[in-house]
Symmetry: D2
Subunit: 369 residues, 4 copies
Amino acid sequence: MSTTKSNAAVMSAFNQPIEVRPLPLPATLAPGDVLVRVTMAGVCGTDVHLHKGQLNVPLPLIMGHETIGEIAAAGGEVNDWLGNTLNVGDRVSWTVGMPCGTCRYCRFHRLPSRCLNRKAYGVNTPCDCPPHLLGGYAQHHHLRAGTAIFKLPADLASESLIGAGCALVTMIHAYEKMPIRWAESCVIQGAGPVGLAALAIASDAGARPIIVIGGPKDRLDRCKRFGADVLINIDEVKDADKRRGIVLEHTNGLGADVVIECVGIPTAVQEGWPLARDGGRYMVLGQYCDAGPVSLNPHLITKKELEVYGSYGSEPHHWARAIEFLRARKDRYPFHELITHRFSLEQVNEALDAVASWRTGKAVICPNG
Amino acid sequence: MSTTKSNAAVMSAFNQPIEVRPLPLPATLAPGDVLVRVTMAGVCGTDVHLHKGQLNVPLPLIMGHETIGEIAAAGGEVNDWLGNTLNVGDRVSWTVGMPCGTCRYCRFHRLPSRCLNRKAYGVNTPCDCPPHLLGGYAQHHHLRAGTAIFKLPADLASESLIGAGCALVTMIHAYEKMPIRWAESCVIQGAGPVGLAALAIASDAGARPIIVIGGPKDRLDRCKRFGADVLINIDEVKDADKRRGIVLEHTNGLGADVVIECVGIPTAVQEGWPLARDGGRYMVLGQYCDAGPVSLNPHLITKKELEVYGSYGSEPHHWARAIEFLRARKDRYPFHELITHRFSLEQVNEALDAVASWRTGKAVICPNG
Amino acid sequence: MSTTKSNAAVMSAFNQPIEVRPLPLPATLAPGDVLVRVTMAGVCGTDVHLHKGQLNVPLPLIMGHETIGEIAAAGGEVNDWLGNTLNVGDRVSWTVGMPCGTCRYCRFHRLPSRCLNRKAYGVNTPCDCPPHLLGGYAQHHHLRAGTAIFKLPADLASESLIGAGCALVTMIHAYEKMPIRWAESCVIQGAGPVGLAALAIASDAGARPIIVIGGPKDRLDRCKRFGADVLINIDEVKDADKRRGIVLEHTNGLGADVVIECVGIPTAVQEGWPLARDGGRYMVLGQYCDAGPVSLNPHLITKKELEVYGSYGSEPHHWARAIEFLRARKDRYPFHELITHRFSLEQVNEALDAVASWRTGKAVICPNG
Amino acid sequence: MSTTKSNAAVMSAFNQPIEVRPLPLPATLAPGDVLVRVTMAGVCGTDVHLHKGQLNVPLPLIMGHETIGEIAAAGGEVNDWLGNTLNVGDRVSWTVGMPCGTCRYCRFHRLPSRCLNRKAYGVNTPCDCPPHLLGGYAQHHHLRAGTAIFKLPADLASESLIGAGCALVTMIHAYEKMPIRWAESCVIQGAGPVGLAALAIASDAGARPIIVIGGPKDRLDRCKRFGADVLINIDEVKDADKRRGIVLEHTNGLGADVVIECVGIPTAVQEGWPLARDGGRYMVLGQYCDAGPVSLNPHLITKKELEVYGSYGSEPHHWARAIEFLRARKDRYPFHELITHRFSLEQVNEALDAVASWRTGKAVICPNG
């Protein structure tokens, strides 16, 4: 490699400005390791939570867990997760979660998303020791041997994959745990990235009608384009009972077969259980961060014979599905349109502010211009 | 019929003594209707709730929804639910729930336990109009055409069926919604009738280990006889964290594959979610009455990738399963031993007091001596 | 009613011309019975089998099990299956299967499609005793009390429902037993009515790619319009190994996640098992008639870890789903286009000939002009 | 290591006597590799098939895929599959299948039993190149890094694990794919090792009644001890229709909820489908070898709405379950009693003859005396 340093946006303290500084590139790569030149890094809402210290991650940290780049160097022959040979210059993305593969969740329960020793690039991979570059907000990203890398097809725009972001694989995982059956009615709580991903999968899987509860208006307009049948704007219908009334109107007076919570605020679950019909299914998908307890009535679970599911993170095969889906259905679900703001690496603090203030669709950082 | 009146225990007001008085027997029976001479009626904990007015049922009411009797008369040829011919003198029991068969839950969703017009003998069948005798606390019980009646096999003691009570069919329904797989670890919260039924099914289905959390000691001793591997006495281990510690000790430090809540107090659910391993399943079975909301953290559902299920009431095929199970496994699960107190019809108030004070195993009323 | 007779096409012997003759209309209708003036009756491929004596049905018989008509008279107040009030003049259809509701399959196993005493209009309902008119090839159709009747929405053309025919509900039932999950690859063997229904559901449920194996060319062209991604014309690719080769090309060299047999010829199953990937699922949907055994290797089931499913007939809720689907998706799946031939009642033999010779899309009889 | 050679039973040609000869022990062990001193190796019926050349495996081969031994040496620190540290002298067993971990079945479909590059110790691991000792019929067994090794608990006799053999893990895998639900009726075709394993799991999972069809009498007697409710001796009831008649007698005239084929002869599947009730489930478990096609009627699948499943091989977590099950339930399912014959390594041909002639319960080879 011609250079020996790579610029990275390093978070050294919570709630403080992030600073861009050079970090050493590896002199050599261990077998299976890969060095990627980052072309686009998504700024996820989770990064805002990380920056606020809400997830108690180790510092200093290079954030960025939705990243695309080009192979700069590799430690010997490396294949992508699906067996494709990787060459310098190939455009790739990868899963951020790195399960240990040996704990009881990884092995006995085949539940790697709950690995007891899970590492996630850009989340709990501090940058003070080599190989330093373990997050997307940097000119280069180091991928350890065993990372599930995906060579991206030429007809898939980087904007599509980053536009969908980790929200899409999270939803594909959730779908695997709680499939939406053809022709089921579906309520989606939340019109943000996760809600939009849920809408796209529900629509593509034949759910009908699909009712989205959320806001603001521009997000709901996008939901309309992505196939929502009914939109309930929380800025307009401020009373939860009235919102429930609208849901009942479209679901034979009983509630929806399936409700997917994509909000992240605990009270959404409170509002959500009564939106499902008796015998219906409820997915708690948005509560990735611990926002504390809320008052809930377990009698509803018994009486309504509800099924309530949770899903966390994703696995490599969900990424494979996501890439194939985005490629095949780009006309029907134009995730690339979500990207409204592009920032340089130096604008990292500006980028986080923009996401925190909900001013953006999706913001990305392009560390190499 | 030689007599024209039948004595019944009529609840005319909540929290007031129940009075035994004669009610008219039907002069003739419509086609399919059946009149039963009651030999044994279980006093369920739910009856105590009914008597306290906690479920807001219509009055006046003859309670009793776990009943066995002998066919006294029938309106023409009547078969039991499984197609057996019924004759005068046959010993029978029946399902108490009478779904309408025509609402959207009964038809489209095939969920008759959530029928929009559900009637249940002894619960919402007031006795001020004919046919009056629609509860078990009486010398006779009127069964409307269409009731799912079961002729009892000679080798099944009435004490077994009433000892198991509606708790067993409730659990069999719950098992159908959330099967316990062979060799799964299982925590049962509660050692009352529902907990004991859950234990019997879990044990018979090969769960291992089975950990029961409950009390008092005599109930736990019975759980031991019914196959529990580990007993946690809430009177001795008063700290919920310590109880969790014991569960973790027996479940590889992760929590149980399956947890079944059979307590009925909302805080049990609070304690319960952390008892399941990540990716585990949780059944909210005890919250039949609305005991109000409780503080719960939905983040746990997401992070633990939990599945939470509810189940309510039962259907006729669950009764058929229960009868067959009790007959076949009476040695391994001696439900007949639960019956510790027998009362005459006139002692109905005494019977309810005994159950309310948890002094009894299971109490029964034998209205015909 | 002003008339006392209704013309009906009566099959008195197998393989003989069917004769149109008047049969008595009921003088009065029992409570719940309905008399319908038939406007359109589908001629199903099964009717050809019936006419050839391949299903050994009782004679004399009025065939026709895909029928739409207008309410002519009713025995008192009658509701449709979903609770809508029925009035004279309402356009309706109905399920042809009439399960007994009391056998062990109906009750204990909740499998009414396998009712031990099942009656099906137009199939095993001979017309030599009252109420005679129990098939669709007649000016009037008698519906016994308890028939699942559906009032048709104004925006659903009769041609859509008859164009889809019993094939669609059969497939909806099959989907319920073996759901196709979002983004699964799917092979459909057969491009006839059942294959087209399978294609429509698979496409609407998000399967991808969908490969149809069948012929002739015009049927495959229609499959293209209905969303098939890959078409394999059996008239062109005559070698089964080559057909398998094409399937493997589109399924990562492994075979499809899901294969649905919609052919009805036993050798299709022989060809079909190797089209599924290991761990895949196979639905035997076309073998409604007994066409005898075929040479099959059960080792494939073990080695490929296949799941093989069967599905038979349908239930009322499948009809409800079908009606809603056809109404909502008529643009995407134009089943009404299938109807290529209309016949009068007198042309019944001509209609059967046309279907037998595969000259038609879908043929219908309009008994009242 | 003090010795440099280890005696092994080498199969150099099919259908020829196997010869015991010394093969080199490894001079050093690569990191993660383990050398085991074999104490007991099961002689599986599959080994007889291998010896007859029916599976076309590469030669020369050391057979033996059910093996227990003591750790003789290890390449550095090695843990067992569940995380226990392994020390010299520890008694261990291991899974024989070694999936590649990188093919589409291993990764995308999470179906390692169908790995495209699967190696299995004692099956397709020829012994002409180092590390030579890759089968159980030898004084030492070499385990490559990554093998799923299990340290055996002190209270589990080697005889229990080898008595259950690979049949038990095969059945545990099958159960995972097609669970037997509590209280289902169950027919098991075959009373050999796989049938006995199926019986043990079905019994422990609460199936009832369990009907075993097989022979000879001593095997059926053992089935009785393992919990079978009904035994059908094929030597006595030679007519398949009569056998079906007995099954119907015990299953309400309809057939069993679940049928498990554990015979390995294709005609068993022919006899088996009609033994399941409509809507029932059928597991093709015995057809591990390709014994060719048989005449089967796919119409039965459609008409009976059958579900037919296959399962092949096993995964490490099935071994973990098996070990735990055998330890916990040794009194109820005394698999150790199956071992009727012990042979030295030199008696290997005698051992295979004994198994081939069905003279044994289970035969084992003890290569170190």
